[in-house]
């Protein structure tokens, strides 16, 4: 032994992973089945086998800002084939949770979004917030519109109540995400010391987005085939609902500030929009995709639990919010059409859940939208996405070992 490397394990980090859904971590005996069955890992220095040993040894710095940890899409192929039930997919998910906490702009928010102890506060914040700003504290006090029908903008005015609240929330989320992405990027850069970047990092954003829009990575998953469709539907539902939001803002302020009148099927300045308005169609289509996607994800999780693991609090709280947003959204719409006043309460919870979705986005599982994308861009930038950049090459004489 000439020079020994002294490993300094961060035991608290190990415990956090174990408690945060990676309780099977210590079962791993490093057989590397996982790295072989994984179809989304690069071939040189593949994951998740190395992450398992790094996590067992408490190598926090190497894991909390690691592109590989985020390149994992949790197909759970590794978990299904793991001979020890060590569930690498679940462990990497738990590591990602630590990663989110580590780069968080407001650590307190990360804490309440990831720790079951704080679930009450997670929902109490928006519940109190919306209760405080709503003009009528009794559903019977909410006035009806000119036609004598229910309209949610009487219950909660669009301006300033909803728009100001959500603008500020979106701003907070955007700044949080920006800070998180910056921290993750510099951490990944430090960990990948020596890796050469190709071109500008920004030049890799569009190809990464193309890949994400096509859900290409999910296609390579074997165990959870259905999950691709669930995620795809949810993904496009979110995209659709984003367009709906922008569209609605256009109707409101386009009329308000630019005096655009309602024409054809486009109901500028009106609310609620009749079912004949195209924005309504998009909203409905997105809602259906949303419900179907969430349902598929839910069923896939339950149906695959034996093979892929049950997931942790972190996954379930996010899935609950997502499903809740869909259910209360569709519910309040249906109840309004049925003129049932309980719809106001459902709508109130819809606002609470939508707010939770946005405000906690960079702190909850939703943060994968930002961080996985960042990691995918980083991987392209450093050539990590390319197949077998430094894997051993196979020749007739046998395998030439990879250059270290």
């Amino acid at each position: 032994m000439s020079e020994a490397t002294v490993i300094k394990p961060d035991l608290q980090f190990v415990n956090e992973i174990i408690k945060g859904g990676g309780e099977s971590l210590k079962k791993c005996y490093q057989c590397a089945t996982c790295s072989v069955v994984c179809n989304v890992t690069p071939e040189g220095n593949p994951f998740p086998r190395k992450e398992m040993v790094l996590a067992q040894w408490g190598q926090k710095d190497k894991l909390i800002a690691s592109a590989d940890v985020w390149l994992c899409h949790q197909c759970s192929d590794c978990t299904a084939y793991c001979p020890r039930g060590a569930k690498p997919g679940e462990v990497l998910n738990a590591i990602r949770k630590q990663s989110i906490k580590e780069v968080a702009m407001v650590p307190f928010f990360a804490k309440i979004a990831t720790d079951p102890k704080w679930i009450w506060l997670l929902f109490a914040i928006p519940m109190v917030l919306f209760y405080m700003i709503m003009p009528y504290k009794s559903i019977d006090a909410v006035p009806l519109n000119n036609e004598g029908k229910m309209a949610y903008h009487f219950f909660m005015p669009v301006f300033p109540h909803i728009d100001v609240t959500f603008m500020l929330t979106a701003l907070f989320a955007a700044v949080s995400a920006f800070v998180g992405i910056t921290r993750l990027w510099s951490g990944m850069k430090k960990n990948a010391a020596g890796a050469q970047g190709t071109g500008s990092p920004f030049s890799h954003i569009v190809p990464a987005f193309t890949q994400i829009f096509a859900h290409k990575k999910f296609t390579d998953c074997n165990v959870s085939k259905l999950r691709k469709w669930g995620h795809l539907l949810l993904f496009y539902a979110f995209a659709g609902l984003f367009v709906v939001t922008v569209w609605a803002v256009g109707y409101l302020y386009g009329h308000e500030f630019f005096h655009i009148p309602a024409f054809g099927p486009f109901h500028f300045g009106e609310a609620p929009y009749p079912n004949s308005d195209p924005v309504k169609w998009l909203a409905l289509a997105s809602s259906v995709a949303f419900a179907a996607g969430a349902l598929i994800i839910l069923l896939n999780r339950l149906g695959n639990a034996a093979k892929a693991g049950m997931g942790s609090y972190f996954d379930w709280v996010f899935l609950t919010i997502v499903i809740g947003v869909g259910a209360t959204g569709m519910g309040s719409w249906a109840l309004r059409l049925a003129e049932m006043k309980i719809g106001y309460i459902v709508y109130y919870f819809h606002l609470v859940l939508v707010w939770s979705l946005f405000a906690y986005a960079p702190y909850s599982k939703f943060a994968h939208v930002f961080y996985r994308t960042t990691a995918m861009v980083f991987a392209r930038y450093t050539g990590r996405e390319v197949k077998a950049p430094n894997a051993g090459s196979v020749t007739e004489a046998g395998v030439q070992p990879a250059a270290q």
């Binding site: 790295s35 072989v36 069955v37 001979p83 039930g85 077998a388 990879a402």
Partner: protein, 416 residues
């Protein structure tokens, strides 16, 4: 008064050892064996530890001791149906399948020559065929032909019966059930090779030239399907670039959670078969850990490691695909820094493990452990288990264990 008789269930190395050791103390012994021959898994091997001699070098001795002793009754093609009673006085129901050949058989092979039907040879794991009238293998004991009731057309054909000069063939034999009284029972039903088709990612049965370690023993054995020449099944090509996949189903919660103990040594041994046969051959062993506990075992490992043409790669094979021209593509992660590699071999041997047979003992209070071995604490008094029913062991340890268990069984006959 207790019966002075021991029933041994299973005629493999454990059962044979138990039987002769018990008989040589003066007790009567019945061996009940499912196959038409004795010797169990050992008879299928090319060579075995520790002397690296062919199976007969140990089995011959046991058979000779049985013959000389005269107190051992052998029932082949037989299985125990029911055991009642208690220590000293068990009543055992045994069902025997028809052999269609009686003890007048001299092993002249005339029946097989006359037989028009063929069957897949399970002794060679389907890699060869025999006639429906056949001798299980050329060292079979008892040396007595057998007719496969499924492949044989019965009395409508009867060409074998016409060809037999000794009146040894009786195509009208029926299954028989018999009751015997014994004082103690030694269970020695052994193990089966784990079903390699269950590991879907290892592609056994789907990719050509992926075989199991037990098939490799048959291929290397002089009385095997290739008369001992190591060639691959698909095209008979000499195998000069071969991979061994360790822990194929063993140490795996999805298959056999236990370490099967013998597979590392078996692959090292089989590596030596290939290296001795083809001096220019290359062998690669993919492993998680090489497990060769014991002085002799470690020395054997060290000896194989000295060979420059045998290489070891740490990383479990988790993907096997069909390559070109019958070659096999194997993917593993080289844990020592080589990344994920895919390499091509002419043949791949899966080091499959031991599937215990203890499940057949379950019930009536007898429990089986999570790994499928018998929970000895739950065995009724007077019934004992030996060998691989309890834990994966090699031949030598089976013999040692059986000898020890015989002591307990004799105590059951003479307990005061």
């Amino acid at each position: 008064m207790a019966e002075n008789k021991v029933l041994v269930v299973g005629g493999g190395f454990s059962g044979l050892t138990a039987a002769v050791e018990a008989a040589e103390t003066g007790s009567d012994v019945i061996i009940v064996e499912k196959n038409p021959y004795l010797g169990g898994r050992v008879t299928q091997l090319n060579k075995y530890f520790w002397k690296m001699c062919p199976p007969n070098c140990g089995l011959e001795t046991q058979y000779k001791r049985i013959k000389n002793n005269g107190q051992v009754t052998i029932m082949t093609m037989a299985e125990v149906e029911k055991i009642t009673g208690s220590e000293g006085n068990f009543e055992v129901t045994i069902k025997t399948q028809p052999r269609f050949v009686n003890e007048k058989c001299t092993g002249c092979n005339k029946c097989a020559e006359a037989c028009p039907e063929e069957r897949s040879n399970d002794f060679d794991f389907g890699m060869s065929k025999t006639k429906a009238a056949y001798l299980p293998h050329n060292q079979a004991f008892p040396l007595q032909y057998v007719i496969d009731g499924k492949a044989c057309k019965g009395s409508s054909c009867a060409k074998c019966a016409a060809a037999c000069a000794y009146g040894a063939i009786d195509l009208n034999m029926k299954p028989e059930t018999k009751t015997v009284k014994v004082g103690a029972v030694v269970m020695a039903t052994g193990w089966n090779p784990y079903d390699a088709t269950k590991m879907d990612n290892l592609s056994f049965g789907k990719v050509k030239n992926v075989i199991t370690n037990m098939m490799m023993e048959r291929i290397a054995a002089p009385n095997g399907p290739t008369a001992g020449k190591i060639v691959r099944p698909s095209d008979g090509k000499e195998v000069k670039n071969i991979a061994f996949v360790q822990c194929a189903g063993s140490r795996d919660e999805n298959h056999l959670a236990h370490c099967s103990y013998i597979c590392c040594l078996a692959s090292l041994k089989q590596a030596s078969y290939v290296r001795e046969m083809y001096p220019d051959s290359k062998v690669k062993i993919f492993y998680i850990d090489i497990r060769t506990p014991g002085l002799y075992e470690n020395r054997f490992y060290a000896k194989i490691k000295e060979d420059q043409n045998v290489s070891f790669l740490k990383g479990k094979v988790a993907k096997i695909e069909q390559g070109e021209n019958g070659d096999v593509k194997v993917t593993a992660e080289d844990i020592h820094g080589g990344g994920k590699i895919t390499e091509t071999f002419e043949m791949v041997v899966l080091a499959t493990g031991m599937q215990p047979t203890a499940q057949s003992l379950a019930g009536a209070g007898v429990k089986v452990t999570e790994d499928g071995f018998v929970d000895q604490a739950t065995l009724p008094k007077g019934i004992y288990a030996t060998g691989t029913l309890k834990t994966p062991v090699d031949v030598a340890r089976s013999a040692q264990d059986a000898t020890g268990v015989v002591m307990k069984s004799i105590q059951s006959l003479r307990r005061k």
